[in-house]
């Protein structure tokens, strides 16, 4: 009986999520400096007769919305993996320093080697993200650390890389740093097919792999001893999953910039909706992450056109109080 109601609840949740995601995506196509009605969107997308807005929809808003969907989903996967691996509700790609590491590497590349094509952006971001993640990993292995302590180390590593980013920005001529500055606030401004074409295949491959492997997160969550007893090579699995998380977050960050707190919020919201079993949780988190980023991007464009507010600023405005809420509730859970 409970099984059936559980399944039907999951179905309802997924249907509602998909519908709201669809609505948010349509809104994202229509909102902005030039509002476009939904009939015109439909005409343009499906090649129907009637008034169309080819340039705005096809050249600007469609790739942007797709990129928001893609990066939101990938950040959510990364957050879910990190939270499960570290058994830490406060963890997220940003909190353990991946975003800052990627940011530093990308800034270095843009400022020091301005002639490199943007194809190398994801490569640089991955290198930086891996460096930051391994620093956090090393730091936490030095002593036995509590979950909150690990987050603290991640924040400290993040500060370190942020200081480097600041240094690079302020010592470079101003015409060079306007691009990194937009990117550092996490904005989808001026992102187009070129950026999407750069990363979609890699991200899609990594995302599918992560979803297929997500049942292993359930095993790891049982504890190392149990997982080993069930025939799992825990250190190897943990490494593979962590590598997936770092790659997903760093590559997303390389195209959309530092979008904080999505990887933190999406898994939590999903867990409260469908529970903690990862084969169900992971897809739900993906939908939630997509929804959050598309909504943040569309809201940023719709609030005060023609000015755009970066999606990263909006996610931080909601994400930071969310982090505080989780901090308070986990503290209570530890005490009781």
């Amino acid at each position: 009986m409970t099984m059936v109601s559980g399944i039907s609840r999951t179905v309802v949740v997924f249907t509602l999520l998909t519908l709201s995601l669809f609505g948010a995506a349509i809104w994202s196509l229509s909102a902005g400096a030039v509002p476009v009605s939904w009939q015109i969107i439909a005409n343009t997308l499906f090649d129907l007769d009637g008034p169309r807005q080819d340039y705005i929809i096809l050249r600007s808003r469609l790739p942007r919305t797709l990129l928001a969907l893609l990066s939101g989903g990938c950040l959510a996967i990364s957050g879910t993996i990190v939270q499960a691996l570290l058994r830490n509700p406060l963890a997220s790609p940003k909190i353990i320093g991946i975003n800052s590491g990627a940011a530093l590497a990308v800034c270095l590349m843009v400022i020091a080697l301005p002639d490199l094509p943007i194809t190398y952006l994801p490569v640089a971001a991955v290198l930086g993200g891996c460096l930051a993640a391994s620093l956090v990993w090393l730091g936490s292995e030095v002593g036995k650390v509590s979950p909150t302590r690990l987050v603290l180390i991640g924040i400290a590593v993040g500060f370190l890389f942020d200081a480097g980013v600041d240094y690079i920005l302020v010592t470079s001529p101003s015409f060079k740093f306007s691009t990194p500055l937009v990117w550092l606030t996490g904005s989808l401004w001026a992102r187009g097919w070129a950026h999407l074409g750069l990363v979609w295949h890699v991200l899609l491959l990594l995302a599918v792999t992560s979803v297929i492997l997500s049942y292993r997160l359930d095993l790891i969550r049982l504890g190392d001893a149990h997982a080993t007893g069930l025939g799992m090579n825990v250190p190897r699995e943990r490494f593979v999953l962590l590598a997936l998380a770092v790659l997903l977050a760093a590559i997303s960050v390389s195209v959309v910039g530092v979008l904080g707190f999505v990887g933190l919020m999406a898994p939590h919201i999903a867990r409260s909706l469908v529970g903690g079993s990862h084969p169900v949780l992971q897809p739900c988190a993906i939908l939630t992450g997509m929804f959050l980023v598309v909504l943040a991007d569309a809201t940023g464009r719709a609030l005060a056109p023609p000015v755009e507010i970066s999606a990263g600023i909006l996610t931080a405005m909601f994400g930071a109080p969310f982090f505080i809420f989780i901090l308070i509730t986990t503290g209570k859970a530890e005490q009781s």
Partner: protein
């Protein structure tokens, strides 16, 4: 026995710190955009009328800037020292607890109301600092009497991130304002003049005296709240006074120079290592240490890359961030 050891080390270390401060201040005064203006221009700069060109550069540009660095160093070191003492947390400092960013947010709000100017901006900065500090404190459970060290730090970082997002949000609303805001979010003291020095100096000196008066109470806090109560002081009053004082000191320095991070973390630590845990010695030592660090950072910011000056806040972050990481790795009494 141990206090004897500290006293033995205290005198030479104090002399060394004074020497370091003097040479740092001299180096900060001697460097700048015009390489032909050296320390010699300082001779007779007071009183000489009319001034030579070099003397005006020294008097109108370099001297106020170095003085601002000195007073900001004192303010932030005092704020950090007080916060570390009253929260009994080695990682506490204005930037880590979100107080810096709260002050910055307060200033941005003030800029949005053009009628506000002059001292009102400072009031906004202090209010922002106080609000952020109180919020962090509440998150850590301080008002229920059980201050959790880790939650204090993590809550502070989150409050800081939130205030930071709002400050960035303001960039996007108005281009002219954003230029003003960007100027000091990285902690820049390049354009300081005498009218910036006056109010800051007054507050710094008052704050320093207040901290000296508070130092006995800060010592008692280190014994634990129960012992402090037993010895006849109310720890809650120490906490309240200390937090308000720290917020005012931070707000005042942010209003002038923007959020300079990590000075309030590093300086009290270093001084505690050298001068021991007694706040009656630690307060003047940390004040001098903060001033020294800031004049050295100011010198570095003018000297490191000659055509583009590095804002002093960035130099402070480059020194402070690795130190913070080191502290998170070694601090034992955090769990």
């Amino acid at each position: 026995m141990t206090t004897g050891g500290w006293q033995h080390r205290g005198v030479p270390a104090g002399l060394l710190l004074i020497t370091l401060f003097a040479s740092g201040a001299a180096a900060s005064l001697a460097t700048g955009g015009r390489s032909d203006v050296g320390l010699s221009a300082l001779l007779g700069v007071f009183g000489a009328e009319p001034k030579s060109l070099a003397q005006s550069v020294m008097f109108d540009i370099r001297l106020p800037r170095t003085l601002v660095a000195v007073f900001i160093g004192i303010n932030l070191a005092m704020a950090g020292l007080i916060l570390q003492a009253v929260t009994r947390n080695p990682l506490a400092s204005p930037s880590i607890l979100g107080v810096n960013q709260g002050a910055a947010l307060g200033m941005v709000l003030a800029l949005f109301f053009p009628a506000m100017s002059g001292s009102a901006v400072g009031v906004f900065a202090v209010t922002g600092a106080l609000t952020a500090g109180a919020l962090t404190f509440a998150i850590a459970g301080g008002f229920q009497g059980e201050l959790n060290s880790l939650r204090l730090i993590l809550g502070g970082v989150a409050v800081g991130a939130f205030a930071c997002a709002l400050v960035r949000f303001s960039f996007t609303l108005d281009d002219d304002l954003s230029r003003q805001v960007v100027r000091w979010t990285s902690g820049n003291i390049a354009d300081m003049r005498w009218h910036d020095v006056g109010p800051l100096a007054g507050l710094s000196i008052t704050g320093l005296i207040a901290t000296v008066l508070l130092s006995h109470r800060l010592n008692l806090m280190a014994l634990g709240e129960a012992s402090a109560t037993g010895l006849g002081t109310d720890p809650r009053i120490t906490l309240l006074f200390g937090a308000v004082l720290a917020a005012i000191l931070t707000g005042a320095s942010v209003a002038v120079a923007g959020p300079v991070a990590f000075v309030g973390l590093v300086v009290p630590h270093m001084c505690r290592l050298v001068f021991g845990p007694d706040h009656r010695i630690l307060v003047p030592a940390a004040a001098l240490g903060g001033a020294t660090l800031m004049v050295l950072a100011d010198f570095a910011s003018k000297w490191v890359i000659a055509p583009f000056e590095t804002p002093v806040g960035v130099i402070a972050a480059l020194i402070g961030a690795p130190y913070f990481l080191y502290q998170t790795l070694v601090a034992k009494d955090l769990e």
